[in-house]
Amino acid sequence: MSMSELPLHGVNQEQALLTRGARRYMVELGILFRIQFSIIRDSWVWVILMASMFPFMTLMFMRFFMTNPTPDMIIRSITGNMLFGVIAMGMNGMAQEISWQKHQGHFTFYAALPISKFNFVLANLIRGLISNIPSVIILAIIGQLVYGVTFHYSWGLIPVLLLSIFSIVGIGVCLGFSSPNHQLTNMLSQVLMMVVTFLTPIMMDIHQLPKVLQWFSYIFPSTYAAEALQQILLTGWTTVVTRDALILSGFSVVCYLVINKSVSWRVNK
């Protein structure tokens, strides 16, 4: 049958329309993710390199700087730099990328299609998650080699890693979607990246920080992610890890809900 012989969809609903429900939902999510992932498909080597470079340099700097580090300091340094990569690319990078898409009018394309906003946001989050996993693993391997330590590996590491990345990426996606203008988002996300990396307990003990910064730290998922990673890599799953995992889950859900609410792509009042 040629295209001109086909009935218009909407006129004849029996055309090859996908069945509603779960299958349609999954196909939609898959397509949206593939569109998002295509943005980094060609440059994935650079994405991994960029995500690994900053933390790698900080890791080396700390290696040369610290004399006779304790196991606790070593683990903190490695996990801190693993998270630094996620903060640089997952939070800072995603915020800038989504803000750019927003101000270039890319959302108009999606808004003109009968798709779920839930799926669109989820596709962005999954892209952030997947593009950050390699650098986290690379940093973990390099960290062990540089400091000559062996981590305690367990299955629990997988959900902790995923929750850590997901909650931090969530902040970036949230910043991007709510961006009032691209320049401002660029500046804000970079300032936030430096503040979260160096003024919250990512690479140091929380008690080394002034009281104000200690309180400030509690509003960032990176604080709990750092603590959970240190614990699980040093001793395995503990009650602290359970508590942190629950908090990180909460952060992820809250981030998702905020994003879902803030993206008013279809009906702009």
């Binding site: 969809h9 006129v11 009906v267």
Partner: protein
């Protein structure tokens, strides 16, 4: 005839009322027609379209799609109305076939059918060899064609195109108008926003002229043409450097408008046309290279309405003053 869209006294203001993009626009879009929205840049055409597809909420009035306010059913509108607004910047990292196929699937058709329609469109566009190229590696015109393809794939019953033929070469422009006509003949309702009045004339059934956010006129092209100056246009090309001489020799026949270095437009009464033709044929010494009689076009309608409304506007302002 069924009504697809009802634009019910719609206004849109920005910046706390300082900018008025639309003012009390009221008309219907009928099922199966090709409606052209004409107007200069900043006239408010695109704002109106964005309100029709529920991307923008009106400040006053409402727009109904098949009887229901579009703001209450944005997903249904997206399901049935394919909107082409610009080059597909969102998809530039995708390959050409992916851009078309994915859009079709997001519009709700099966992968197999989406692939089939994508390949058929690429064949029509003569772009089959670019199937596996990424959009960022093809030309602007080709990207635009893919963008138009993303609106055509999925065969939505209503198609909205915002300046579809901008930046396209004549062959591709012709192809786009042909495709639009074909879809319309198959039953699709088409709304066209365009500056290209001369080309649009070949496909549109009715025209809505919008300027300064207001609807100036809406009617069938033939009816609008009747409103325009009914004098016939003689387009004349004089011999090089002799346009003044030609104007002087034909001055008594009607009103002259200089349209170029050696080009003149002579407006004459209809009943004088055959006498003028006889006069030109009988006077070979006239410095004329070419001549043609041209009926009123949609472009004339557009300029006529705009001029008329400007006069009304100035008149009203003077009366107030």
């Amino acid at each position: 005839m069924n009504v697809v869209f009802e634009i019910d006294h719609v206004s849109k203001v920005y910046k706390k009322g300082k900018v008025k993009a639309n003012r009390d626009i009221h008309f219907d879009v009928l099922k199966g027609e090709v409606l052209g929205l004409l107007g200069p840049n900043g006239a408010g055409k695109s704002t109106l379209i964005q309100q029709m597809v529920a991307h923008l909420a009106p400040s006053e009035g409402e727009i109904r799609y098949e009887g229901v306010n579009v703001l209450k059913q944005p997903k249904r509108v997206a399901q049935n109305v394919a909107y082409y607004a610009q080059e597909p910047h969102t998809l530039t990292s995708l390959k050409v076939w992916e851009a078309l196929c994915f859009t079709g699937m997001l519009r709700g058709i099966e992968k197999k059918e989406a692939l089939r329609q994508a390949d058929e469109l690429l064949e029509r566009f003569e772009m089959t060899d670019l199937r596996t190229k990424q959009l960022k590696h093809i030309s602007g015109g080709q990207k635009r064609m893919v963008g138009i393809g993303t609106a055509l794939i999925g065969r939505a019953p209503v198609l909205i195109f915002d300046e579809p033929t901008n930046e396209l070469d004549p062959k591709k422009r012709r192809l786009v108008w042909d495709l639009i006509q074909e879809r319309n003949q198959e039953g699709a309702t088409v709304i066209l926003v365009t500056h290209n009045v001369l080309e649009a004339e070949q496909v549109v059934d009715r025209v809505a002229v919008i300027n300064h956010g207001r609807l100036f006129a809406i009617d069938h092209v033939s009816k609008l043409k009747q409103k325009v100056d009914q004098r016939l246009k003689f387009e004349l090309v004089s011999e090089m450097g002799k346009s003044d001489e030609l104007e002087h020799k034909l001055a008594t026949w009607g009103e002259f408008v200089k349209t170029g270095e050696n080009r003149l437009r002579l407006l004459i009464e209809k009943q004088e046309a055959s006498r003028l033709l006889d006069f030109i044929v009988g006077n070979p010494q006239l410095p004329i290279e070419e001549y043609a009689v041209v009926p009123p076009s949609l472009e004339d309608v557009y300029f006529y309405i705009e001029k008329e409304k400007e006069h009304e506007h100035v008149g009203a302002a003077s009366a107030r003053g």
